[in-house]
Symmetry: C2
Subunit: 110 residues, 2 copies
Amino acid sequence: MGASKSDHFTEEQNELSILFKALGHPARIAIIQHILSTKSCICGDLVEKFPLSQATISQHLKELKYANIIQGTIEGNSICYCLNPQTLEKLNQVINHFIDSEKCKGTQCC
Amino acid sequence: MGASKSDHFTEEQNELSILFKALGHPARIAIIQHILSTKSCICGDLVEKFPLSQATISQHLKELKYANIIQGTIEGNSICYCLNPQTLEKLNQVINHFIDSEKCKGTQCC
DNA sequence: AAAGTAAATCGTAATATTGCAATATAGTAA
DNA sequence: TTACTATATTGCAATATTACGATTTACTTT
């Protein structure tokens, strides 16, 4: 076998892993960076920007949406995507919690 | 086809995705949380703690090591793993950069 | 309505990940 | 050295991800 034993882990662990997994592909990092570098929200210009087909881009966007990292609104004929600040904030808290816990330990064994 | 067009993306994008991908599995999140919750570095008690075989745990540890999230030192017969603070800090910076860029945009279109 | 445009979905092939039993490796203890 | 213990690696099956052409859906324009 080889998959997702998600029942064996906590709700939080599964949630977090979905979030991180969504960020675990260079194309999706590139999409996020592109959204950040664009003043307005982005629409379908990603297909021209990246060496990936429209279908593939759409699939990556779907995953980012599923993880609540981006959100889209319909804008006439096209769709406008931008980041979800709440999810970014949550991510920030998670990492900070990691760092705080690590510092708190005070052990320096490695 | 169906894989890694990593040539088409920047070094940074590939690096970041490796980092996030390593965090993109509930077992690996659980391992990290366990390391954080343990005062000293952890050794092989993970196998008893999780419903996964020794081989599987070892494989997850290997991925975390590859992404530089954990580091291990040999401690007698067993191995002692703990988190790499530098990688956590890098992760923190990345997320903060995302948040800063987002705030900087000042557009509220979604 | 008909044609055009943009994004999503479907079907499918290639590849990667996950998980484990079995085995190998490396150190410890007798 | 031999037995023991702990972790890593190998080989393989099951599943998931990635990518894209073709198609569908939804909206716009003529």
